[in-house]
């Protein structure tokens, strides 16, 4: 399927570049509907990659790239399945998420996340599957999961460890603070910081540059440089599922879901 227009995302191929656009209001929260459409995309990716040399992932929503997992859905599962069963349900869901993330991570194309605004939690984890991140100057990154008594579970911790020094990873994970694109570039997470609204244009220019190189060579170089930490990814799921049934998590999610104030994205 060369192009697709879904409820949460769309894709198309333009001049050898696959563009995956996220557009689920309000902020591309990743729940079951997004997962289903990501799975469709991954199924199509093999045939799309034969005609392409790069993949760009971006958001068409003004507010940002992606705020992360659909916490309202997660809270709903706790209500529906109860503390005893929710971990089993979550594990099944996370196995599917990881299959998608791992496929994106390994695809034999150069991949670029073009991000702006909020790039939090699962959204940050999606960006981390890409070979490079291009951020507009108002992008902010965060792993806020500890605020809810959880850890990132879409593969973010092993991927962040792959890219950054452990001290930086500890800072981000244990404080749950957000940091801006300038800081992200300083620590080696973001490859280019561009003006407001310019991330997609810069990603297209970068992808066009990479089209000059032999695809097989680029794919071999990527596979050599970018290992996928499968054991740690499985461990991350285990730890998340151990933490999920705890009352503190239910209380944290309830507080988030019931918050009508102006400050849900602030710690």
């Amino acid at each position: 399927m060369k192009s697709f227009q879904g409820q949460t995302l769309s894709w198309d191929v333009k001049e050898g570049i696959i563009e995956l656009a996220l557009h689920r209001e309000p902020l591309n929260e990743i729940g079951s509907s997004t997962l289903e459409e990501l799975e469709k995309f991954v199924s199509a990716l093999d045939s799309l990659s034969h005609e392409s040399h790069a993949l760009i992932v971006y958001s068409t929503l003004k507010a940002g790239f992606c705020a992360g997992a659909d916490l309202r859905q997660l809270y709903g599962w706790i209500q529906e399945f109860g503390q005893a069963e929710v971990a089993n349900h979550a594990r099944e869901y996370l196995n599917r998420i990881h299959a998608v993330m791992n496929a994106l991570d390994a695809v034999p194309l150069t991949t670029i996340a073009a991000v702006h605004g909020v790039t939090f939690g699962g959204g940050f984890e999606l960006a981390l599957t890409c070979d490079m991140i291009i951020a507009d100057k108002l992008a902010r990154f965060c792993f806020p999961e500890l605020r809810l008594g959880l850890i990132p579970s879409f593969g973010g911790i092993p991927r962040l460890k792959r890219d950054l020094g452990n001290a930086v990873v500890r800072d981000l994970l244990l404080t749950g603070r957000s940091f801006n694109a300038t800081k992200a570039q300083q620590i080696g997470l973001v490859s280019q910081v561009v003006g407001e609204g310019e991330a997609l244009r810069a990603a297209r220019a970068t992808a066009t540059q990479m089209a000059k190189f032999d695809r097989v060579t680029s794919a071999a170089a990527k596979k050599f440089i970018k290992s996928i930490p499968l054991d740690e990814l499985r461990q991350e799921i285990d730890i998340f599922c151990e933490l999920l049934p705890r009352p503190a998590v239910q209380a944290g999610l309830k507080k988030f879901v019931e918050n009508t104030g102006a400050q849900p994205y602030l710690p």
């Binding site: 940002g64 605004g117 849900p264």
Partner: protein, 80 residues
Amino acid sequence: MPTAEHTLDEILNLAAAHFKVPREKLGPDDDFFKTLGIDSLQTLDLLTKLENHFRVELPDYELQGVSDFRTLASKIQARL
């Protein structure tokens, strides 16, 4: 190093320009959520603008309980 008053003045100017609000409508002790009509996402935009302008890093947890420009300015000033 700029004075606290100078930092406060710059913050008010930046906030007015970014959110397209007349500068004279912003006071140092105003609740910026109410005066600017912004939510947490827009507050993060403001934080980024301030960090880039003042070349500081201000952890967002330092904004807990902060809702007026004067207190915000003191947080920035402490990082200069």
